[in-house]
Symmetry: C2
Subunit: 187 residues, 2 copies
């Protein structure tokens, strides 16, 4: 029959898009096959299986996220950089919940795993933000983990509808950025 002209990159990208639409848990090999116009087993010619697909989506997501945060930070420093990074992070998670969910709970296989590379680039972007505050070296790792926890926690809780009560969520996020900025400046 006519070749569909698929390749690994399109399969992974379509899978990521589908995961964003229907949720990672509902990303099924059948639905992905249908989306790319092929029968289910054909996907295995491009991808090792669901685990492998998930891993590749995670790698894509981490790369994109690192790009987004990295370029948002360009040209800012201090509080502006912090706000830009945090907003870019949250925007990405809310716009691409499936991709982001794929990145959680995976261990990098080795140091040259492209996933670990994306992870490191993301970390570097946040490290650059912290360079705008003159922290003691012993504080940098902790501050990094604090920022990551804040961004990850807020974004995933919002994505999971974890904030039920009244106050405006965007306002809370800006408040949170201001809080972190104040804390970092007075260390």
């Amino acid at each position: 029959m006519p070749r569909a002209g698929l390749n690994r990159a399109t399969v992974v990208a379509t899978g990521a898009a589908l995961a964003d639409e229907v949720g990672l848990a509902n990303l099924t090999m059948g639905s992905l096959a249908q989306r790319v116009g092929v029968r289910t087993p054909s996907l295995y010619k491009h991808v090792g299986g669901q685990g492998d697909l998930n891993r590749r989506i995670a790698t894509l997501a981490l790369t994109e996220l690192a790009d987004a945060v990295g370029s948002a930070v360009q040209g800012c420093a201090g509080r502006d950089a912090l706000a830009a990074a945090a907003r870019a992070f949250r925007t990405f998670v809310l716009e691409h919940p499936g991709r982001y969910a794929a990145t959680l709970g995976l261990e990098p296989s080795g140091p040259d795993d492209p996933m670990a590379l994306g992870s490191r680039r993301l970390l570097d972007a946040f490290t650059a933000v912290l360079r705008g505050y003159d922290l003691d070296v012993s504080d940098v790792d902790h501050a990094l983990r604090m920022l990551r926890s804040l961004c990850h926690g807020f974004a995933t809780l919002q994505g999971a509808n974890g904030f039920q009560w009244s106050a405006d969520i965007d306002e809370s996020f800006e408040w949170l950025i201001a809080f972190a900025d104040r804390g970092l400046r007075t260390l």
Copy 2:
């Protein structure tokens, strides 16, 4: 044949324990049935299905978590209360990852949903912590979300092995508590 003497509570409790052991995603009706010593379809006499089971595990988890945080906070105030609440939260999530995972991404069906009740009690415990800092009323909701994001983010990232690099994780968590305390005291 001989009755196994099951009831809803034991099924849910065993399901929660199993989810903690093998991960919520690997909690299967078959494995749970085996654990309680019964054939799979028998579970449906006690529980509506996998979704219902998940919901009941989440309710149990939220109740336990609210109890843990609530009693940890008893008799402390200010920084001590904050530290006690945060530690209790993280300990619970790390010791019961399956239960906690079940609580995410669920919408309470109604205002008298027992799950919403547990959720509210947990919220109340954190609100009590904040009462030790004299915040402007307009800040309370934002501060609450900040604390929830911090605790949730840190605990889930640690549980997912999201902290790869070197620094000591417990030390980071204590640093983070101190950071939040300082920020809250200087609002």
